[in-house]
């Protein structure tokens, strides 16, 4: 089997004395959608932030396309082809939707791609096209989530990291978001998806990992995980 696009080995992240992630190992093959499951505080966000470079890796390896990224700054990592749609969106609230998208395209060396990418984002999220001149800070939660994902897509990433894209959104909007991810998957986009909602994630993913207090405790193909009683047990915290 060929090397996976992303391979994490025994990742550890500390916040001072606090341990955010103790021991996480996972693989994301090219073209696949991998789900990272776990309850609140299991370390999903910290894992994604460590991959993107905004949380410092204290031990372990993050190998992307054959290169260890651990310790590199976030601005260098995104230029290598990993884009994060972060927790809490972190949009530039004072700037317009289109400016936010253009900022997402900053890492692109080939500026000629920008019109095509922006069209693509507007096709995936027509709502953003209607609001292109609006300030990001004045939009609804669903629209902000779309913008965060759209902005990450603007760097044409090899690997897209999505942090809880369903959090706090109305069910109808969640369905739209996941339809978009299915479409991106079909186009061959590699995605690592952190999600609290098990059913949603397992439907979208090929493979899944379950985190519990900062460790990977279970993994398997999404299809078999859906029927696994351990998954439910870990989620509910029942021993």
């Amino acid at each position: 089997m060929s090397e996976p696009l992303l391979k994490i080995e025994h990742l550890e992240v500390k916040y001072g004395d606090l341990i955010g992630v103790a021991d996480v190992s996972l693989e994301v093959p090219k073209g696949s959608v991998v789900a990272l499951l776990g309850s609140n505080g299991a370390g999903k966000t910290t894992t994604l932030n460590a991959i993107a470079g905004i949380a410092r890796v204290s031990a372990g390896k993050v190998t992307f396309a054959g290169e260890n990224l651990a310790g590199q700054p976030a601005y260098a990592i995104v230029r290598k082809g990993i884009a994060l749609s972060p927790e809490g969106w972190r949009l530039f609230a004072q700037q317009s939707v289109e400016s936010n998208l253009m900022l997402g395209a900053t890492p692109l060396a080939d500026r000629k791609q920008i019109p095509r990418l922006i069209d693509h984002v507007y096709t995936v999220f027509p709502r953003l096209a209607e609001r292109r001149a609006q300030r990001a800070g004045t939009m609804s939660g669903g629209e902000r989530q779309m913008l965060a994902v759209g902005r990450a897509l603007m760097s044409a990433p090899q690997l897209l990291l999505l942090d809880e894209p369903s959090l706090g959104l109305a069910p109808a909007i969640v369905d739209t978001m996941y339809d978009c991810f299915a479409a991106l998957h079909k186009e061959g986009q590699t995605i690592l998806l952190a999600e609290q909602s098990v059913d949603l994630a397992l439907e979208a993913a090929d493979h899944a990992y379950v985190l519990q207090v900062g460790r990977t405790v279970l993994e398997g193909p999404a299809k078999t995980m859906a029927g696994n009683s351990d998954v439910q047990r870990i989620y509910l915290g029942v021993e």
Partner: protein, 287 residues
């Protein structure tokens, strides 16, 4: 309105445009990284001395000294950023205040050592003599200062609001972590902000050197004007600095004419306190 009153208001607007320019550098630094540069007045003062050096050693007028001061003070800004500000930004607010205040003293006494304490001035006919237009008398140097001042302030505003690089700078100021996720290096943008602010401040210094006396302590009074302009306009807002600068210029001239020159600062600061009483964020600042 009598002709004299028109003359006074126009004089105030001309002065205000220069206030706007040297305050926009201060407001840009604050808006970008929440640092108050207490050495700002001394940046203006060194811009003035750049004009003096260009005149005395090369015989160059404002056409040479304005670009030269822009380059010199922009360089000074970048050096201050990399060697001082970048480090004290991580510390408490007090470290920033004392750090930039220390820089102010260093520059002021450096100028005293290099240029001496005597007042210097440039010849008043460097920009041609005064002229009369529609019954109003204009002084060439003040008109030039106002026109260039407005132009540079407007250019700064356009760079920040209409260009990709401006958008990246604003992105860093709003959320430096998110900006890094976009592949933007925050330190580069902050250094660029210091260069732009320095260039604007240097230009302002070279322009006011045309009609104000130049001394190592000239920066003290100018710094106060800049702080009042910036807080009146709203910290971080270039358009705010423009409106407040023009307003202060006009109020100063009108008070000097209608009440008496010694009262002009009393009225300006009373107005300043009143505005901040009712609108603490300044005229154009965000609440």
């Amino acid at each position: 309105m009598s002709m004299t009153l028109v003359q006074v208001v126009i004089g105030g607007l001309l002065l205000g445009a220069v206030y706007a320019l040297f305050s926009s550098g201060l407001t840009l630094i604050w808006g970008m990284m929440n640092v108050v540069n207490f050495a700002h007045g001394d940046f203006v003062m060194l811009g003035m001395y750049t004009a003096v050096v260009i005149w005395t050693s090369l015989g160059g007028g404002p056409w040479a000294s304005v670009p030269a001061a822009a380059i010199v003070i922009a360089t000074l800004g970048v050096i201050s950023y990399f060697f001082l500000v970048r480090h004290i930004m991580k510390g408490p607010m007090l470290a920033q205040i004392l750090g930039t205040f220390g820089l102010a003293l260093f520059l002021r006494y450096g100028a005293l050592w290099a240029f001496g304490a005597n007042f210097k001035s440039l010849p008043d006919n460097l920009v041609g003599h005064s002229f009369v237009l529609g019954g109003i008398r204009f002084e060439g140097s003040r008109v030039l200062a106002a026109v260039v001042g407005l132009g540079v302030t407007f250019a700064l505003h356009l760079i920040l609001t209409r260009t990709q690089i401006g958008s990246r700078m604003l992105a860093v100021s709003e959320n430096a972590t998110a900006a890094q996720l976009m592949g933007i290096r925050p330190q580069r943008m902050q250094a660029l902000a210091w260069a732009m602010a320095g260039a604007a401040t240097g230009i302002a210094g070279a322009l006011i050197a045309l009609f104000l006396p130049i001394s190592p302590t000239a920066g003290e009074t100018l710094a106060i004007v800049a702080f009042v302009t910036v807080s009146l306009g709203g910290f971080g807002s270039v358009t705010g600095a423009l409106v407040a600068g023009l307003l202060i210029g006009v109020v100063e001239s009108l008070t000097a004419y209608l009440v008496g020159p010694i009262y002009k600062e009393v009225i300006v600061y009373t107005l300043f306190v009143l505005v901040l009483w009712f609108r603490p964020q300044g005229l154009m600042g965000k609440a």
